[in-house]
Amino acid sequence: MKLHEYQGRKLLKKYGVPIAKGLLVSRVSDIARHANKVGFPLMVKAQIKAGGRGKSGGIREAGNLDEAIAIAKTLLGRKLVTPQTPKEGETVQKLMLQKKVDIDRELYLAITIDRTNAVPVLVASKTGGVDIEETAQKNPERIVKSPINTLLGPLPFQVRNAALICGVPYANMATLILSLWNLFTKEDCVLVEINPLVIDRDGNMVALDAKIILDDNAAFRHKNHAGFKMYSENPLEEEAQKSGISYVALEGEVGCIVNGAGLAMATMDELSNADVPPANFLDLGGGANDEKIEKAFRILLSDENVKVVFLNIFGGILRCDRVASILCVAMQKSGRLIPLVARLEGVGAAEAKEILRQSNVTHVTADSLSDGARKAANFARSADDKNSTPLQNGGGS
């Protein structure tokens, strides 16, 4: 789970990391009250999860209340587009009003995970305020990367090296790194990134931004993380997330229902190869119960983009016939007579095909992914072709 800046700041504060004074606003009417508490000049910062705010007008300085309100009006409730958001942008629900810090230098400090070597890594750079990847490419000598021993934590010599490259006193760096390490380990973070970590004119270290990603697999042991949960902007994804269904909304016309993440990705790829892009990624998983499966179909069928459904089930623990009967019921209930391509193998496949034959769902069966993709393309083209004759019910193959 990627946190917003204002959520990350809560965690930084909890673990003793110095942050710049700031208050959160959700309404223009709250600005006056909060802005005066923070004091001017202040930075108005759009709270979106994607990066690249600064260069896209998402972080702007206000010298007085009128300016703050004017800036807020251009941001709040609107979609902000940055190089890292989807092309339609991300809606700005909240703003952070942050005291402007008199910056002497900008640094970079982060703890992340090196998945190749299965260790945490401390990354420190004397160049903050820019993308660390950019620094890594252009000026790698400005970065120090230290693999951290999982069981021992950061060691003094590693703190020393980080302090050296950043030009800060050892003691200050030690306190800060220890705080970040505690946050990283105790909250089950995948990433804790402070960029920029600034040194102000008085020589104090202040975290000016907070990028924290929490491990979703660890949610069961962090009741306090539930409060951070914000669902996807896409209403179908939101519904899926709430029901624990693995679903990603895409742009195409073919709704996919697959059991297995790898198979679901391969199905998407096959449809893209056949020039009939998927409307979604959906992994039913092996152990889904009837309710969950029905919910998944309902979500899929309520997507107006979906003109064809591609059902790809390799039956094992999850039987094909169970899925087929639930799908038929869901289609009836939705009232949408969408043609179906069914690729069914494994346990219950024969029974499933019979169920489809007996239903009034327009369908064809496929014996491979590429065969299924081609048939989905045919259906999609007929759906687009306004002059086509209506499809016959119960078609088999």
Partner: protein
């Protein structure tokens, strides 16, 4: 020969009394695997259709020689179960569990270093099958056939797809291993490639990868230097959007890294046959085996 497991492998099932554990322990035994005992704390002394259950791995080992442990323990307790098996020096540990926290896996990897003779497979994996000999995990038994192709994959369902295609063409498998879909796992592609290269029964290797991480790129470099047997690869997720987790915890393109196209390019540059569609795997394998 095959790799990792055969009809002699004596298996202990951790989490044997749970819904998943009990169901699959029996399916594995049906397949011919020597499921000799199980562990479920507080259920010691019971048995599952004749399979004796113990309180702990230590207790189980007092009465049974154990070559491998198969873990079906739920995510919150999987770390402890893996560590219990590791500390007991069980040579092969297969953890099926999905949803293990990444920090737990960092600790497992740190903890396993003191036990160089222990191999962990998974977590979040379907397990291993050596056709006609043994099955450790949840793979559907009926699709397998004994033969010369070694299969190693990050995806369970794509393993089934590839195996099914091969079996239908009468091309059998030596061993099929699902290494798991998580970002941090116990055994890599390279570990399996090394074993397949040394296995006299394996004549060709099928490698199935996906977006996220750099395991495929590392494998490509290893293959170029160390693997003489032909390798056929398939990488899924070419059409996956960035920064979205596609089911598997490890299947995510982060900061522009881990794209399928890049993996395919690197694999091809190292002389590996990469098929564009999963449906082409068996055909490509057939061509290479006839040569």
């Amino acid at each position: 020969m095959s790799i990792l497991i055969n009809r002699e492998t004596r298996v202990l099932v951790q989490g044997i009394t749970g819904k998943e554990g009990s169901y699959h322990a029996l399916r594995c035994r049906e397949y011919g695997t020597r499921v000799v005992c199980g562990v479920s704390p507080s259920k010691g002394g019971q048995n599952l259709e004749g399979i004796p259950i113990f309180e702990s791995v230590k207790e189980a080992k007092r009465e049974h020689r154990v070559d491998a442990s198969l873990i079906f323990v739920p995510a919150p307790f999987a770390f402890d179960a893996m560590m219990e098996a590791i500390e007991a020096d069980i040579p092969l540990i297969v953890c099926i569990t999905e949803g293990v926290p990444i920090h737990d896996m960092l600790k497992v990897r740190a903890g396993i270093r003191a036990h160089p003779n222990v191999r962990l497979i998974g977590p979040n994996c379907p397990g291993i099958v050596t056709p006609n000999q043994a099955k450790l995990g949840i793979m559907p038994a009926s699709i397998f056939r004994q033969g010369p192709v070694g299969v190693v994959s990050r995806s369970g369902t794509l393993t089934y797809e590839a195996v099914w295609q091969l079996t239908r063409r009468n091309i059998g498998q030596s061993t099929a291993i699902g290494i798991g879909g998580d970002p941090i796992i116990g055994t890599s592609f390279i570990d399996c490639l090394e074993m397949f290269e040394e296995d006299p029964e394996t004549r060709l290797i099928v490698l199935i990868g996906e977006i996220g991480g750099d395991a495929e790129e590392k494998a490509a470099a290893y293959i170029a230097q160390n693997v003489t047997k032909p390798v056929v690869a398939y990488i899924c997720g070419v059409s996956a959007p960035q920064d979205k987790q596609m089911g598997h915890a490890g299947a995510i393109i982060s900061g522009g890294r881990g794209k399928a196209q890049e993996k395919i390019r690197v694999l091809r540059d190292s002389g590996i046959h990469v098929v564009r569609s999963i449906d082409e795997i068996a055909e490509q394998v057939q061509k290479l085996l006839l040569v």
